[in-house]
Symmetry: C2
């Protein structure tokens, strides 16, 4: 079945509010076999809303609206959708009582009552969080309409508990399952070429995405049941893992830091960080992950040279002879922070994030990353031009390289000293 979302609200068209509702709805629909083909946003304007609803009811099997169910004069979704489907609005007693309870002790304005007016014969979706109920109904042409409130805190539970079961009622849906194959160290263009044959297939489909210096492949299969769809995904995911080799760092994980924190937790290992150019970003990314306190006890941001010496014991001769941005300094930072923290691994990062501070020998984008495990130290040199993406991009990429080194060391993979993307060049 094909679906369409219409998000209603002038605030969305002014850019004041980012339309997250459409994403929430989309994320719930695809796993249950409903294909979202269009998502439209219209303002609080009855004519344009009517046109959008008419169009949706013509071309899609399912119409889901978000927003415009509230008490104010510009909340027009129910009136407009009911009229388009040739239905009258009638008072829904239970919803009225719910609203009265909600306003207990406060004056219940006339406008609040309009929230209990619903299309005749509809299935009511109770609002467990706010006042405006949602509802679903079938049009004379057999199209399904579901109307949901705009605030995400109200929309999300109503969608899961009432709207999705309503939409699936009595249907023989194809189930859809998606798997995310995450990759660090290969570019999207390169991967797209390597897996072009898989991307050309109809079911399962493969699509590549790039984000924040990483890329991922989404594999999506459709079948009668989720189990069958999942079984169809499996060989494709395995195929991808084979082709992408140890650049693939996880399936259905959220991020590189998520994968690394999971891995360290599982192996009961700890890591400490000493950061210069990344300025705390690596520690921040590790501690973004709930439960990271089990694997991360200490990080330092040694922005000034004397702090590198004082906190980490980087010898002043090293700083003088090779400079703060050098493999030697990175190495001493990693060793120093590991020793002082008592962690299994120590990471040292020093580099030039720009925009200032670059020289011909040490340009912006040059970063040295070191990993110490108490026995050996590995140093990776990252050279990336900022290419207008700037300081934030370089810092993020440097932190990602550090996470990649930890992952490779823990899993016993090679390539610790090999900068991300250099293998691609060699292979390509």
């Amino acid at each position: 079945m094909n679906a369409e979302i219409i998000s209603v609200g002038t605030e969305l068209l002014l850019g004041h509010t980012i339309n997250t509702d459409a994403s929430f709805v989309a994320r719930e629909l695809s796993p249950v076999g409903i294909n979202l083909l269009y998502a439209c946003t219209v303002g609080d304007n009855p004519e344009r809303l009517k046109t959008a609803i008419d169009t949706a009811l013509r071309r899609s099997d399912i119409l889901i609206t978000t927003g415009g169910l509230g008490p104010t004069g510009d909340d027009l979704t129910k009136e407009t959708a009911a009229a388009a489907a040739g239905k009258k609005l009638v008072m829904h007693r239970e919803s009225m009582e719910h609203i009265e309870r909600y306003f207990q002790g406060r004056t219940l304005g006339e406008t609040q009552k309009k929230q209990a007016m619903l299309p005749e014969g509809c299935t009511v979706f109770p609002n467990d969080v706010g006042t405006a109920p949602g509802c679903g109904f079938r049009t004379q042409n057999g199209k399904l309409v579901a109307m949901l409130p705009g605030p995400p805190s109200e929309l999300i539970p109503m969608l899961k508990h009432y709207a999705v079961p309503f939409l699936l009622q009595g249907s023989e849906n194809a189930a859809i399952v998606s798997r995310i194959v995450r990759v660090f160290g290969l570019g999207e263009g390169y991967v797209a070429e390597q897996i072009a044959d898989l991307c050309g297939r109809a079911n399962p489909t493969c699509a590549t995405y790039a984000k924040d210096g990483e890329m991922f492949v989404r594999v999506t299969a459709r079948a009668e049941t989720a189990e069958k769809a999942e079984a169809m995904c499996r060989p494709v995911v395995e195929d991808l893992k084979g082709r992408l080799g140890d650049f693939c760092y996880g399936i259905d994980v959220e991020s590189l830091e998520d994968a690394v924190v999971r891995l360290l937790t599982e192996k009961r290992l700890t890591v400490a960080t000493a950061e210069s150019c990344t300025g705390g970003l690596l520690a921040k990314r590790i501690t973004d992950i709930p439960g990271s306190s089990a694997v991360f006890h200490m990080g330092v941001v040694t922005y000034a040279n004397e702090i590198k010496a004082k906190l980490l014991g980087v010898p002043e001769e090293i700083l003088k002879q090779y400079g703060a941005v050098s493999p030697q300094t990175a190495r001493r930072m990693a060793v120093g922070v590991r020793e002082r923290s008592g962690s299994d691994f120590g990471i040292g990062i020093t580099g030039i994030a720009g925009p200032g501070g670059g020289t011909p020998e040490k340009p912006v984008g040059l970063v040295y990353l070191a990993l110490s495990d108490g026995k050996d130290v590995w140093v990776r040199e990252m050279r990336r031009s900022a290419r207008g993406k700037g300081r934030g991009y370089l810092r993020f990429l440097a932190a990602s390289n550090a996470l990649d080194m930890v992952r490779r060391r823990v899993l016993g993979l090679g390539g610790l000293e090999e900068a991300a993307y250099t293998r691609e060049k060699r292979r390509g």
Copy 2:
């Protein structure tokens, strides 16, 4: 002039990526008098994309597309839009050279080259960040089409620097000046009420926005020249500063950390950070700002209790008696990191970012922030419910509170120990 956005990308319809591009575009258009009437999302499907483009060109004066300009096979926007407008794609030499420079030293795949194919006679929007150029052209019926890349880091500068000037070409009052008045510690709803009269005006316009626990007011004037538009903004900005008092932390600054780094640089002062629950985020935000090395020499992330004792000298009795999350611990962290770093100010942050670790006495969202200047120590207690926004939101807000304390101390303002948003409550 009425405009319509078509966002292209199956990932948007799968809910994997939230469509922030449409909001960015909407925010730039409305202040310059372009009304956005529809925003639609379609997948990477040529037929449905064609239908959407045809519809938009029929009902709107301006069509803006986002996404689908990249190198892969499912990037179809240019091909489809050019065909709908009856234009051929031709190789754009400069864009090709830009792409070749971008890939210097790496293999340039055939698919990359397709990014330099642009509709004949178009205005090219250079991509200062990535490879895919954007472009704008006028159709035979006089409609304007602008095509922008999907990644926000590429879209935002292209929109501001090339697409908006292209769309306003030849119109009167083509000069637009926007000023951003940034506020920390007051909610958007409260500010909107205080400045409702200004928000009702046509030129300059005022609009409020909320983001990441802060809010800002955007003042936009249109006039024949930039000088005139700027002169029109000035009294409105002064009026806003008067009304918002010391909650206004800057005009046209990028962020709270930007304002604080500027202020410290100007006064030749330095700050050091000791973070527990924020895990390096405060240091990261400070060092996001180029030139921050002049004001920031050292930060520590003391995630484990023994590290708080070892690195910062927080007495173990304090940790035992009051707990790691306590005003006493925050105070000792601030004092300890200031002394060890030799900085003018020391910041200590300890709290419970969740989702786990909360208790009835110390719930998730409780954070203690301390600022030491070597003489006095101030402690701020932040109590905020995550309200479904979660760990990342609480951590960000805690770091913002710390920055606010530094700013208030340096400028000699009051309210160092007052949690953000409590004055509003008192005033309201």
